[in-house]
Amino acid sequence: MVRTRSFGSISADVCIYFLLGLVTLSTLYPLWYTVAVSFSDSSAVAGGFVTWWPVDFNLAAYHEIVSDHKFYKAFLVSIERVLLGTTISFVITLLMAYPLSKENSLFPGRNIIMWFLVVIMLFNSGLIPWYMTIKSYGMLDSIWALVLPYAVPVFNIILVINYFRGLPKELEEAGLVDGAGPWYLLLNIYLPLSVPVMATVTLFSIVFHWNAFFDGLILMNRPEHYPLQSYVQQLVVNINTTDISSEGLKSLSLLSNKTLNAAKIVVTMLPVLVIYPFLQRYFVHGITLGAVKE
């Protein structure tokens, strides 16, 4: 494509690059700030002296992480949660999206089930009934409590349904002529064609399970069973001094360690930041076909 390049066009380009660059920088800053804090001296951080560069550069925080057993444990719990949760969601999403992508005429009852899913997605039962339910299943303090309640991600299913609908009808028809059943069609025709959208919902799933913290705090009975984000959340929340007896006050000086916390945040963010670029390739394609079919 050839375009004539006038002076106006070039200066417009400069403006565009500048603007884009600025916005991009602003999105990088928080990450950079956290990294800077993690490499700084803790007293300097407590006094609020760190803005752009580490003050009194040191690795103390990272040394401490390496020897922190709880951090390791929490890391493992999170990995387990992500693996289990993502696998289960993957299977359920696939199994539900396929029949629900059929027209109501081919699959009577489809619309009713669809609305049922949507109602459930929007309705929030409230914390206490939810907690009591999980408790009555005897799942408190078990990894299943962190996985099974989110096994049916309705939003993701809707994305996949729309993606399936966008696939050419001829494919399935050809399969039908060959006498293939629904399971065969799903696994051998639909699944191989859905890599982008399945990669996308998988990424969603991974990020969701990796970042969730509240349910871990509520449902796990011991800090050793917390997933990583719950563990980190406990470190970064403000310490409420009124809860502490005067003998326990010393804790404040031990705990006001923003540096160590920043280092833990950095380590916590790393896995998602590493995975993201690999899945990003499919991601654009997946979302767009899932949401925008023309």
Binding site: L122, T133, P277
Partner: protein, 296 residues
């Protein structure tokens, strides 16, 4: 009959998911009964005293209720609008960039804040908007008096909206960009031959080309009208700005878990769910009518 076996198999495929949904979503819903009770934990859900609509009546008596509903809707609407326009502008600008590597880099990076939790971001934003923070320093350089952004009922909602956009605009940008690449490039070439400038091309080709996408995203976001962002507001607000920023979710959290008024909190939550459901219904209808699109 072949059709019958197909339908049977469809149901088989749905069973695991439906069972899980019933166990973990439908069963807890019985708990909304609390909204109609003076809940007493010793007696439990079925033996607590039923009080009819008392909790709802009290909710409407509270002077806060109106403020909270208005805040929720106004914040959510502002966020929805900004989240449609900013990514569109950004995508259009990015689309003008011809350096592939730069484009890819920007696209990857702007999506980053999405991965950070509000717990972390709120701390950083509070620093940046503080009295001696980065933003006031920049303002100072242009001769402005420093402003207490986080205490001001004018500025604070603006900060909520803009930081939300800042965190999430990468997502919609990707969708717009995909729609943009879908526009037939021969249209631009023809326009260029006719002597149309960048502006005219934008107005006559680009925007009409992605109009369906804009309409679609707009209707999809309607279901979020009552989700003004709990995590964000909870981590950033303070009593000074309650009057402009206290929303349903933060209120329910405070009243429900901290002040242990289960009945009231559940009632407010229930009302929210019902209104959301109505809004989704509306957006479903609108989407199929104006964008000829079935959301689900």
């Amino acid at each position: 009959m072949k059709n019958r076996t197909f339908i049977l198999n469809y149901y088989l495929m749905l069973i695991p998911g439906l069972v899980l949904l019933i166990l973990f979503s439908v069963v807890p819903m019985l708990g909304v009964a609390i909204a109609f009770q003076d809940f007493n934990s010793g007696l439990g859900l079925w033996r607590s005293e039923w009080v009819g609509l008392d909790n709802f009546n009290y909710m409407f008596q509270l002077s806060d209720s109106r403020v909270i509903f208005i805040n929720t809707i106004s914040l959510a609407v502002m966020k929805i609008i900004a989240n449609l326009i900013v990514p569109l502008v950004f995508a259009l600008l990015l689309n003008e960039v011809r350096k592939k590597a730069f484009k890819r880099f920007v696209q990857t990076v702007v999506y980053l804040p999405h991965f950070l939790s509000w717990v972390i971001l709120a701390g950083i934003l509070t620093d940046m908007f503080s009295y001696h923070g980065l933003v006031n320093q920049l303002f100072g350089a242009f001769g402005f008096e420093p402003v207490l952004f986080l205490a001001s009922n004018t500025w604070f909602p603006a900060i909520l909206v803009s930081s939300d956009v800042w965190k999430e605009f990468g997502f919609n940008t990707i969708i717009y960009l995909a729609a943009l690449t879908g526009i037939n490039s021969s249209l631009y070439e023809a326009a260029a031959i006719d002597g149309a400038g960048r502006g005219e091309q934008l107005w006559h080709i680009t925007l009409p080309g992605i109009r369906p996408t804009i309409v679609l995203l707009a209707t999809l976001s309607l279901g979020n009208v009552l989700n003004a962002g709990f995590d964000q507001i909870y981590n950033m607000y303070n009593p000074l700005v309650y009057s402009s920023s206290d929303i349903i979710d933060t209120y329910v959290y405070r009243v429900g878990l901290l002040d242990v008024q289960y009945g009231l909190a559940t009632a407010v939550g229930l009302l929210k769910s019902i209104v959301s459901l109505i809004l989704i219904g509306i957006s479903y209808t609108l989407a199929s009518k104006f964008a000829n699109y079935r959301i689900f």
